[in-house]
């Protein structure tokens, strides 16, 4: 991430030729380059080289024929996807779940971090932190098993509903309840873990600012609003841009474990539908095509929000 340089700064330094600058830099920072070499190799081998495999999105891949031997089919896989009767519903559901997750799930760790920051009693603070971190380490399958058991018509959720005068029902069969269950359990599981990075950013805020504010007569809430929040704003913006860059990556396994026919109308997302469509034939090409579509949309959103971030907040990822 970088902040925008002052205009005109670039004109000041005389530009040496690229080759010379590189070799000088290399000589100066030899060990830094060495340190980054394994990561570079890792990226090249596991991220860049496999990109060649994306070519199967334009083929009809058969494992026995290999990538080279499989026939070309042009945009057929993409047409199969876009022409599907359920395409718009899938897109709508994917965006809905993603945006609602961001709307409710993104601020939650920030709020927790801000609240934790205000706690003076370290023992209490640490207890709260530990308790909120713990759900993150529970396997998703276990959590979904719990949710399914609670949502049954004789389960915990129904019993609570009856206490409030409602009817017992199987909550996971109710399309109106799917999003709340999904998002609330997501927040419950991730809030502690995701707040760590904000807590870390909080430690970098100059304490003198708080002193100055207190002298000026600012209350705790005003201190939070004027000092703490702006202090972690760069972190928030970067994480937000990154989050938007994953907008179509909705939690596939979780939805797969929680959804069922009654909730298809709201819960069937691109990845679950492709899973069903592909499972019959091991349709690798189709999966690759949809994955490519996902990536293109994600990169688009990443670029858009990066630009917005740069323009309006002076903060951007690249």
């Amino acid at each position: 991430m970088r902040k925008q340089p002052l205009a005109g700064a670039a004109a000041i330094s005389a530009r040496k030729p690229l080759g010379m600058r590189l070799s000088e830099d290399f000589k100066q920072n030899k060990y830094k380059y060495l340190m980054i070499l394994p990561v570079l190799i890792y990226l090249i081998v596991f991220a860049y080289k496999p990109m060649y495999g994306l070519v199967i999105a334009f083929k009809n891949y058969r494992p026995a024929l290999g990538i080279e031997g499989s026939p070309w089919v042009g945009f057929r896989q993409f047409r199969l996807f876009f022409n599907d009767v359920y395409f718009w519903r899938l897109l709508k559901n994917t965006f809905s779940i993603s945006l609602l997750s961001i709307l409710f799930g993104f601020p939650a760790p920030i709020i927790l971090a801000l609240l934790l920051n205000e706690i003076k009693n370290t023992a209490f603070k640490r207890t709260v932190q530990t308790i909120t971190y713990m759900p993150y380490f529970i396997s998703l399958v276990v959590v979904c098993g719990l949710i399914k058991t609670y949502a049954q018509s004789n389960g915990l959720m129904s019993q609570i509903a009856v206490q409030f005068g409602g009817q017992p029902q199987n909550f996971l069969m109710n399309p109106d309840c799917f999003y709340p269950i999904y998002i609330i359990s997501d927040i419950w599981q991730g809030i502690g873990w995701n707040s760590i990075i904000y807590l870390a950013a909080l430690t970098s805020i100059d304490q003198e600012q708080y002193e100055a504010a207190r002298i000026d007569g600012a209350g705790r809430f005003q201190q939070m609003w004027h000092i703490t929040l702006p202090g972690i704003l760069p972190t928030i913006i970067i994480l937000f841009i990154l989050r938007m860059g994953g907008i179509l990556n909705v939690g596939f396994e979780k939805i797969l474990l929680l959804y069922s026919e009654p909730t298809y109308t709201v819960a069937d997302v691109i990845s679950t539908y492709v899973y069903r469509k592909g499972i019959l034939n091991g349709a690798y090409s189709f999966g690759a095509a949809v994955g490519l579509f996902n990536s293109v949309v994600n990169v688009f959103f990443l670029a858009v929000f990066n630009r917005i971030g740069r323009k309006f907040a002076g903060m951007s990822l690249y």
Binding site: G19, D84, S153, Q169, N170
Partner: protein, 545 residues
């Protein structure tokens, strides 16, 4: 200086681009083997003189993608009594390979295929793709020498026309060794209705036989015990359930069946299914069906059975053994028993859960197997269908894991019955016929594996309705060409999703069955006629084999 650096960087970048083009996707069969898929060796005289063949110098590579794989107690095939024992029985050295524990089987299989290093023999669920693999020169055509090199197998597959059809491609080429149940499908009816006999006795009710009986019993159980009819979603949705009582052939998930004119139809598009759904939705509205039936797992239903929340259910004979054990441990007096599938009040019964007793996985010989090893490979696979081999594949070595009791029946020895991992686990250590494999599964195996209640339940479900257990099912060996597969891809998942969604809405009453005609016309506009045409063509080819 800088030109040199630039040049180096450019060259390196170009080289990298060139190397990334080096995918490992070479076509198999270029390594050792004969070209094409026709086998030779018809001229060579056979040196076979019984098992063991004493060909320890011949090494066969065998990949087991599922079914008779490695028991979790063993790390390698050498430790496994079944696998190493099989090598000794046939007298050949076999190098076994399995998918890495914990990986997805299907992925592991595809990785094995695309690695370019084919084993001599492999097993997986490739029936519907058999023609493609033949065209892609992965598997061998065994037609010329099957009768000579695998006489036991040859004799077995000619006992029934379905068996013979199942192991050929549409072009009539024999290509593999299939899994068969000895009894022609007894255990294919491993699911059915179950009821608590003690509750029936308490209410002085008889076992329900017709739909009206079911109605009465459901209402009585609800009134007296506040219990509902339950079933695990994974068993309830895709099976035919009790639709047979209405002349229908499917439940919630889309199902294709063979009608009385040998035509392939979609079960959910038939008027009989509408009548079936009307009854189901009525029961749903009256609160007689467990609301969780669309999402429950085996374990959820087991808990309900234990807590008395259900006394009337639909599940597998294996599950009912668990329920029995729970009831015994809890001493609650529950007596679970399998009952017959209901018929219509007029006696209609069109279909019950079942099949032909033919598996959908095939053990095949690949083009990587050289001609000189071909006969050995075929003899090794034929062993399972001989008298001695059947016993070995099912139970293990006589005198080691089993012996005959006084009634000349197979009985397990303490090595198996007192195994610390439990009986069911132990059976898999010494035998390979439990799930699927190139063998004949003997009914005795299932009798030894299951409790008496489970066996009686299966007996009821199969023998009482034997003539409607299978002839309506579409055989698993029906194959589709690449073009047909591609065409169906366009419609299949949309149709499947639409059917299961609508069926659910009909069941819960969210949508009235008055809109059934709209439902059917929507299906027709989604490409159902094309799909039926393709499936029909494939099925006709199957019949002509």
């Amino acid at each position: 200086m800088r030109k040199r650096i630039l040049a180096t960087i450019l060259t390196a970048a170009l080289l990298f681009a060139a190397f990334s083009g080096c995918a490992k996707g070479n076509s198999p069969g270029t390594s050792a083997a004969p070209t094409g898929s026709a086998e030779s060796g018809t001229g060579t005289a056979s040196t076979f003189s019984g098992y063991p063949m004493k060909k320890e110098d011949v090494k066969l590579k065998w990949y087991v993608g599922s079914g008779y794989g490695l028991n979790s107690a063993y790390a390698t095939a050498d430790e496994s009594p079944f696998h190493s024992g099989l090598e000794k029985q046939v007298g050949v050295d076999i190098e076994w390979s399995f998918p890495t524990a914990g990986t997805d089987e299907k992925q592991a299989f595809n990785v094995m295929l695309s690695s370019g290093d084919l084993p001599d023999i492999f097993f997986y669920y490739i029936m519907s793709d058999a023609q493609r693999y033949m065209d892609e020169k992965v598997i061998r055509d065994l037609s010329g020498s099957l009768e000579k090199n695998s006489p036991n197998y040859w004799a077995w597959i000619h006992t029934k026309p379905e068996y013979d059809r199942a192991v050929k491609t549409d072009a009539g080429q024999y290509y593999g060794y299939c899994f068969f149940r000895e009894d022609g499908g007894w255990n294919d009816s491993y699911q059915g209705p179950l009821i608590r006999e003690d509750w029936l006795k308490a209410l002085s009710l008889k076992e329900p036989k017709t739909v009206s009986d079911w109605d009465a019993v459901l209402k009585a159980f609800k009134e007296k015990y506040n219990a509902t009819f339950s079933s695990p979603a994974g068993r309830f949705k895709p099976s035919v359930f009790i639709a047979g009582a209405f002349g229908a052939y499917g439940n919630i998930n889309s199902s294709y069946y063979v009608d009385k004119n040998n035509k392939i139809q979609l079960a959910q598009a038939q008027p009989e299914w509408k009548a079936y759904m009307q009854q189901m939705s009525k029961w749903w509205k009256e609160g007689l069906i467990d609301q969780d039936i669309l999402t429950a797992e085996d374990s959820n239903v087991q808990t309900k059975a234990l807590n008395g929340k259900t006394g009337f259910a639909y599940t597998s004979m294996g599950q009912v053994s668990n329920w029995e054990k729970d009831a015994k441990d809890a001493k609650n007096g529950a007596e679970w028993a399998g009952i017959e599938y209901p018929t219509g009040d007029d006696g209609t019964l069109s279909a019950v859960f079942g099949g032909y007793g033919i598996g959908n996985g095939m053990t095949v010989i690949t083009t990587a197997c050289t001609d000189d090893k071909l006969e050995t490979a075929m003899r090794v696979l034929d062993y399972a269908y001989s008298k001695e081999g059947q016993l070995y594949w099912n139970f293990g070595k006589e005198g080691n894991s089993w012996e005959y009791n006084d009634k000349k029946e197979v009985e397990y020895l303490p090595l198996v019955t007192e195994d610390k991992d439990g009986l069911n686990n132990a059976i898999d250590k010494y035998g390979g016929a439990t799930w699927q494999g190139p063998c004949i599964q003997l009914t005795r195996l299932l009798h030894l594996k299951n409790t008496e209640t489970a066996i009686k339940a299966n007996d009821t479900w199969f023998y009482k309705h034997q003539d409607v257990t299978s002839k309506w099912t579409v055989p698993s060996s029906v194959t589709y060409t690449t073009e047909e597969s591609d065409k169906m891809d366009e419609y299949n998942s949309a149709i499947d999703t639409y059917v299961s969604e609508q069926a659910t809405k009909f069941l819960t009453g969210e949508e009235s069955l008055d809109s059934f005609d709209n439902f059917v016309s929507q299906l027709n506009s989604m490409g159902l006629p094309e799909v039926l045409k393709i499936r029909q063509a494939a099925y006709d080819r199957y019949l002509a084999r």
